[in-house]
């Protein structure tokens, strides 16, 4: 599983251009990064955000201040919970409308 994740490269079939790889996406995105995460650093999350911005896709990005290394995403950090909750509530509302 870890190996499959490590080797997954969405840009490989688009001349290593992540923006080109995301041209077709229709989904809305919420990207959350954690300042203490050395495994998937905020700088790398910003690359995903940049590729989505290049395509004018619907995206929000939040950088959560954390002290728990890569595992921060498992912790109950108030702003993380607040943002995640707000986003999930939005999904519910749009779902009811359509």
């Amino acid at each position: 599983m870890t190996k499959a994740l490590d080797y997954f490269d969405p840009a490989s079939q688009h001349d290593d251009d992540l923006s080109a790889a995301l041209v077709e996406v229709l989904a809305k995105f919420l990207v959350i990064s954690f300042t203490s995460d050395w495994r998937f650093s905020p700088a790398r999350s910003r690359k995903i955000v940049k590729a989505l911005l290049d395509n004018k896709k619907e995206v929000s990005y939040a950088e959560i201040k954390s002290h728990d290394g890569h595992d921060a995403f498992l912790m109950q950090i108030p702003h993380y919970l607040q943002i995640f909750q707000a986003y999930m509530q939005q999904i519910e509302i749009t779902g009811e409308e359509s």
Partner: protein, 210 residues
């Protein structure tokens, strides 16, 4: 809910269906209004965690960004308008950010408190102390404002940066405009609103084909 009057004035300046970047977007009020009333798309940039959560709650696309780092995540001319309300005076280098605004957007819109207002002048001239007012509520030692300017200062900077002012309005803190303000905006205006763009480049030599 009634929209803050400066935001209402700005939204009248923005064409329907345009793509907008809002620098220091706060809780996303302006973008949410523009989306509902004028089918505007775009993003807000914010650094405050609570504001980011509120933007997401309001369905506004928001990107965690430190405006002092510039707008390098955005391509040239990728927006119709880049808006910045009441943030110019807290930026480390307003001149560089204005250039960045006009790199990523075709037009810029800013609002800021006018330091040339008569109360500020009187306070410094007769009182000998840094002015505080309705538009500038904080004391010199705890204000976030580090680059205050008057209307004339801003227009001089625009001239220097080859920025053309397209529209200017001054209002008071209740966001009303009076005849007196229109007559002497740099003395009676408390808050200034500007819409601007880069001056068309004057080419001295014909453009060379490569």
């Amino acid at each position: 809910m009634k929209l803050r009057t400066d935001l209402a004035l700005i939204s009248e300046w923005i064409a329907e269906g345009s793509h907008v970047l809002d620098l220091g977007c706060g809780d996303g009020t302006l973008l949410a209004h523009l989306h509902n009333a004028r089918q505007v798309t775009g993003y807000g940039l914010e650094i405050d965690d609570d504001n980011i959560a509120q933007c997401i709650q309001a369905g506004v696309n928001v990107i965690h960004t430190d405006l002092n780092q510039g707008l390098s995540d955005f391509n040239d001319e990728s927006f119709d308008y880049v808006v910045m309300t009441q943030a110019l005076q807290i930026i480390h280098r307003p001149d560089l950010l204005l250039m960045e605004m006009l790199r990523v957007g075709r037009q810029g819109i800013v609002t800021f408190p006018n330091f040339g207002h008569w109360r500020a002048r009187l306070s410094l001239f007769f009182g000998g102390v840094m002015p505080t007012s309705r538009a500038l509520p904080s004391e010199w030692y705890n204000t976030e404002n580090i680059h205050l300017c008057s209307l004339r200062d801003f227009e001089k900077l625009c001239e220097m940066l080859d920025i053309e002012v397209l529209q200017r309005t001054v209002v008071d803190t209740k966001h009303h405009s009076t005849g007196l303000m229109r007559f002497m905006p740099n003395v009676f205006g408390e808050i200034a609103l500007y819409r601007f763009r880069s001056k068309p480049v004057k080419r001295i030599y014909p453009k060379q084909s490569l």
